[in-house]
């Protein structure tokens, strides 16, 4: 099976983000980038499928700046076989433009399965995977936690409010990945070394005219400081009174 996984870099989620002086972008200085966590989950699922189906191969497709190659290398070490690094220092924050570039590349590979994260945790746009699928006219199941493969068919599990939708689909297919039951494997030093020898093709993107743009970024108002009502069981009646009379939520 030919599998593609689209990965993007995002700022490390535990760090502070600072708005740049232009008021429309994030100050890149000192920001550490990591693979978008949902893309890592997707890669893990792809590697599991590859382990099940002999002769499978995983290609990464990443539209990220030149200096983001470290995330591509890490993903190769986790278990991909090769990568296409489409280099762009300024990827527009326009999901349709991004999806078109990815679709153009993915079309060339005739993949049986294409994995995306359900969303990238920078701008939380939550759409690129499904858009690519529609552009390529492929079936797509979004927000899947995990998969079962048997007899050429894939069963995909998708969480909805209060339940799980179970889908059956025959490749070629696009999946977008929710956090699932499987932890992402941690690459060993040996795998990190081997990743350096795996092929990375580099390309240049052609973006369509944008229809979406950021006009302003701002910090949300901070939550007003709360209060410690008290210690232990003695504080319970006062808490209930405050919730009833001050906050009016019970």
């Amino acid at each position: 099976m030919k599998i593609a996984v689209c990965i993007k870099q995002v700022p490390d989620t535990s760090v502070r983000v600072k708005i740049a002086p232009d008021g429309k972008s994030i100050d890149a200085a000192g920001v550490e980038h990591v693979i978008n966590p949902y893309d890592e989950y997707a890669l893990e699922e792809a590697v599991r499928l590859k382990e099940q189906v002999a002769g499978s191969e995983i290609t990464l497709v990443s539209l990220v700046p030149d200096k983001a190659q470290q995330i591509v290398l890490k993903a190769l070490a986790i278990g991909a076989d090769k990568a296409v690094h489409i280099k762009a220092d300024n990827v527009p924050n326009d999901s349709l433009a991004v999806a078109k570039v990815l679709a153009e590349e993915l079309k060339l590979g005739s993949y049986d399965m294409i994995f995306f994260g359900k969303k990238a945790v920078d701008y939380d746009n939550h759409q690129v995977g499904a858009i690519v699928a529609e552009i390529l006219n492929l079936p797509c199941i979004t927000g899947c936690t995990h998969y079962e493969y048997s007899g050429g068919k894939i069963t995909a599990y998708r969480e909805i409010e209060g339940g799980v939708e179970v889908y059956e689909v025959v490749p070629p297919v696009v999946f977008t990945q929710e956090k699932g039951p499987h932890e992402v494997r941690y690459p060993q030093l040996r795998e990190l070394m081997a990743a350096r020898k795996k092929p990375i093709a580099t390309k240049q993107p052609n973006f369509s005219a944008p229809i979406m743009q950021t006009v302003e970024l701002s910090y949300p108002p901070p939550r007003p400081a709360g209060k410690i009502v008290g210690k232990g069981v003695e504080a319970v009646p006062e808490l209930v009174r405050l919730l009833r009379e001050e906050a009016k939520v019970i």
Binding site: D122, D124, I131, I160, G162, M212, Y219, V240
Partner: protein, 327 residues
């Protein structure tokens, strides 16, 4: 041509509350630009939903029905939805940010080359654009995203927009039997698994009692269930609890779980890591119960009790029951 189209989601004949929020917002936007608002409902045998939808003041209710659309189908609902979009040519499409809404909105966007803003907190509308305010970078920043495609699509964050019942004239009803061909659908829904005990989803709950590593194990959640029941809410969990296998992922709140916005969020034995915080910081009121007075959760909780949750929670449950006269 200039209209606002709101997708009103139903499952098993039940309309989503967040769709009614979207409908109310759609009506407000339509008023601003002097246009009409239509409610689109897709399903099978859903005529009876018109009454409830009408309370929120749509000018039109468009019912798209087919026996193959009784359950959600990504292919089927997309095709039915697109048929209506092509007829109506709306200026703005609003969709509630539910599992279904998040699935269908980008598909429509792709098919008509429209810009899509997801998880919106507010929407401004001008002659040729919408500007959506939405949380980005895990809620640490707010983005104003401008969309200038001829149709603009937005999904709205649940529990954010006000519902508004209005008494205007009854809407006109349009009934459509869509030109769909189920034999061509490729992603086939085989079934919907429901947990044995039906439980309200954290993303829709107005009260959440959430437990973290401090619960010590799966048995600990019994006292949270009791408190949640007393408050008419549901149980949530931190990632530490989910990764330990104590609770299902569906209950996880946070960056890689669900983003919730209840009226009341009670965090029990949860330290308040930033990845948890981003999932629940939009709650109206946050209560923290933690034995460590230095726990970060106390920095953003409205009310805190420092103490052993295994003592405090049962006491709180008793007090709430007393208040509601259940004991």
């Amino acid at each position: 041509m200039n209209s606002v189209l709101v997708f009103v989601e139903q499952r098993q004949g039940r309309i989503k509350q967040s769709s009614l929020e979207a409908l109310s917002e759609g009506r407000r936007l339509a008023k601003k630009i002097g246009s009409t608002v239509s409610a689109l409902v897709i399903g099978n045998q859903i005529d009876s939903l018109v009454n409830e939808i009408s309370k929120f003041g749509p000018d039109f209710v468009i019912l798209v029905q087919h026996n193959a659309l009784a359950n959600y189908s990504p292919d089927g609902y997309r095709d039915a939805f697109l048929e209506v979009v092509k007829q109506e040519q709306p200026k703005v499409i609003l969709v509630a940010g539910t599992a279904m809404g998040k699935d269908i909105a980008p598909r429509i966007a792709a098919k008509i080359d429209a810009g899509l803003a997801t998880d919106c907190l507010a929407i401004e509308i001008t002659d040729d654009a919408i500007i959506a305010t939405r949380p980005v970078f895990a809620g640490k920043v707010l983005q104003k995203l401008k969309i200038t495609s001829s149709t603009k699509i937005a999904t709205l964050k649940p529990n954010t927009f006000r519902t508004e019942e209005v008494s205007t004239k009854a809407p006109s009803i349009k009934k459509i039997t869509p030109q769909i061909d189920p034999s061509k659908w490729r992603a086939v829904l085989r079934g919907i698994q429901e947990p044995e005990a039906k439980k309200q989803d954290v993303s829709e709950a107005s009260v959440i009692v959430s437990g973290g590593r401090g619960m010590k194990g799966p048995e600990g959640y019994k006292i949270l269930e009791d408190l949640a029941t007393a408050l008419g809410g549901t149980v949530g969990a931190s990632r530490a609890a989910v990764d330990a296998g104590w609770r299902p992922h569906a209950e996880q709140v946070g960056q890689t779980g669900k983003i919730v916005s209840p009226n009341l969020y009670v965090a029990c034995g949860i330290s308040g890591a930033v990845q948890h915080q981003v999932g629940m910081a939009n709650s109206k009121v946050i209560v923290a119960i933690n034995k460590d007075p230095e726990a970060p959760i106390f920095k953003f909780a409205d009310y805190g009790i420092v103490g052993d949750l295994f003592e405090v929670i049962p006491a709180l449950t008793r007090e709430v029951k007393k208040l509601y006269g259940k004991e």
